[in-house]
Symmetry: C2
Subunit: 284 residues, 2 copies
C-alpha cells in the first residue's frame, strides 16, 4: 500500500511527491522541519511544535506557508489517509525555488511545504523497554542548533561514530560539556535530582523536553538545568533521552560504562509513565 503525502496544497502518492532541483532546501539546506508524534491516531504536543516552527521560520526569515489550523488539518488528514495509530508526521518547509541558484533569495520567493507520515510503535520498541547504549563524540554542528534546520550532517557524522562503537544514539559534547543526543534531548538523574543542559543556541529546544519539564514540575520532581560532563553522565544513577517519536527512552550504557546496573532506573520508568499518560490524555 502506498503512502499518501502532502506537498504544496496537494495530496499525492509518496513516489509522486517531487520538488525542483532548484529548491533552496536542496541547494543550500535552506529549510526547517518539525516532527510531531502520533499516539492513538492523535497529534502529540502539537501547540509546542507550532511555537517552535514559528520561531524557526522567524530566525530563518521564511514566511509561513500555512497557519497552525491549516497545518493541523493537513496532519490529521495524513494520519487518517495512512491509518497511523502510533508514529509521526514529518513536515518540512523550504525557502522555495527561484528557478536558479543565487546565494541570496529573491524577495518574492514562495516557500515549499511537504509532509509525510511514518508508522512507529515507539512505546513497544526494545530500546524503550531495555534502554540504549550511547557513545560520546564531539559536537561539530554549527552555532545555531536552536533552529531546527535540515543541515543535519553534523549529527549524522556523530551518529556514525556512535553506530560504529555499537551505540544506538550519540552523546555529543562541546568544550568538555554534554550538549545533547544526535537527534534527541539528554538528561541524567543523580540522587533523585533530574539534570539537563539549559536552553541556548547550543541545543535544540525539544518539544518533548518542554512537555516533560512541565510535567516534572507538576509531579514535584526536582530539576537542575546546568552543564555537566560525559564523565558525570557516566557516573549518574540514571540517564535517558527524549524526542517526538522516542518519548522517554532509557540510557543504560555510556561509552561502555553501565548505568543503574545496565537496567532502566526508577525515575526514568516513572517519567516514561508520566509522559505516556500526558501523551494519551493531551494528544489532539
Amino acid at each position: 500500500m502506498t503512502r499518501s503525502v502532502y506537498i504544496n496544497g496537494n495530496y499525492c502518492a509518496a513516489e509522486d511527491a517531487k520538488i525542483s532541483i532548484f529548491d533552496r532546501g536542496l541547494l543550500f539546506a535552506d529549510a526547517i522541519y518539525e516532527v510531531a508524534g502520533v499516539i492513538d491516531g492523535r497529534l502529540l504536543d502539537f501547540k509546542s511544535h507550532m511555537q517552535r516552527l514559528d520561531r524557526s521560520l522567524k530566525e530563518m526569515r521564511i514566511p509561513a506557508p500555512l497557519n497552525h489550523d491549516e497545518i493541523l488539518a493537513v496532519m490529521r488528514e495524513l494520519v487518517r489517509l495512512n491509518s497511523i495509530k502510533e508514529g509521526l508526521v514529518y513536515m518540512q518547509i523550504t525557502r522555495g525555488s527561484d528557478g536558479d541558484r543565487e546565494f541570496l533569495p529573491s524577495d518574492g520567493i514562495v516557500p515549499t511545504i511537504f509532509m509525510f507520515t511514518q508508522n512507529k510503535a515507539s512505546a513497544e520498541r526494545k530500546e524503550y523497554v531495555d534502554g540504549i547504549k550511547m557513545v560520546s563524540a564531539p559536537d561539530i554542528r554549527w552555532a545555531r542548533r536552536d533552529i531546527k534546520t535540515v543541515g543535519l550532517m553534523g549529527s549524522l557524522f556523530a551518529k556514525w561514530t556512535a553506530k560504529e562503537a555499537g551505540g544506538g544514539e550519540v552523546l555529543m559534547y562541546q568544550d568538555g560539556y554534554v550538549t545533547e543526543g544526535g537527534f534527541t534531548s539528554f538528561y541524567i538523574v543523580k540522587n533523585g535530582l533530574l539534570i539537563t543542559r539549559p536552553l541556548s543556541n547550543d541545543i535544540l529546544p525539544g518539544c518533548t523536553r518542554q512537555a516533560l519539564l512541565t510535567l516534572v514540575a507538576e509531579f514535584d520532581i526536582e530539576l537542575d538545568q546546568r552543564l555537566f560532563t560525559v564523565t558525570e553522565a557516566q557516573q549518574a544513577d540514571e540517564a535517558f533521552i527524549t524526542g517526538a517519536s522516542t518519548y522517554v527512552c532509557p540510557v543504560v550504557n555510556i561509552d561502555d560504562s553501565l548505568l543503574s546496573d545496565g537496567k532502566p532506573g526508577p525515575v526514568t520508568r516513572r517519567l516514561q509513565e508520566i509522559y505516556l499518560e500526558h501523551a494519551m490524555r493531551d494528544a489532539i
Copy 2:
C-alpha cells in the same frame, strides 16, 4: 529559451528536473557539490575540482555515481546545449533516497546526481573591475568546512549580515582570526607578501585558491600561509577573494576601512591577469 539540465543520466528542461521529497539531500543536507568555471566555452581547473569531489565523496562515504571522464562529458554537453561562453557548471551529488526518512541510510542507496549551467560574465562585472566591500561576521559554520556540503546556512546567515551593512561578501572570523569569505577564499597583501590562511578543517580547499597558489610560486610572488585577524586585513595594502566563478576579485573596503585608497592594488591586478591567462590557456 529554457535551460537544459542533467539529472541521473538524462538531459531535460530545467523546469522538469525534479527529485523525490525523500532524497537525503533535501531531508538531511546529505549532499556535496562542485562549481566549475567556464571560460571561452571550456572548463576551468577541472582536474582540481574532480580531486576535491573525490575527497568530499570519501569523507561523506558517498559512492561516485559517475567517473571523471563521464562528468567531463556531461559538463561539456551542458555547456554546448546551453551555449555557455563564460559562466559555470554546478554539480550536486546527494546520497540518494531510501523512499523514507531514517537517520542512517540503507546500504544499497543509490546517489542522485544533477548538473546545470549558469551564464556569468565574471571578468566584466563591476565588482571585478572596481573591487568589493566586505563586512566581517563570526564564522558559525560546522567544524568540517573542508567538505563541500550543501549545508550552507552558516555562510548564508553571515552573508545576510554583510548585505545589511552594504557589503558584497562576508569576511568570516573565528577565535579572533579570519577564516574565509562566505563563498570565497580570502587573501591579503602586505609589503609585497601574499598572505592567506593555511588549509585545515576550518576552511574549504578552494580550487581557484589551489590554482592561484601554484601560479604565485611560478611567478615568484612570496607567499605566507598563516592566521591573521580582521584588523590586520583592514590594515593590509591590498586584499582580494577568489572563487570558481569569481576568479580574483579585489576587496577595497573591510568594515568601512578603505584598502589601497579604495582602489584595487597592483598585486591584485597582476594576479587577476595571471589567473585569467592561466584560465584561457588551461581550460579544457
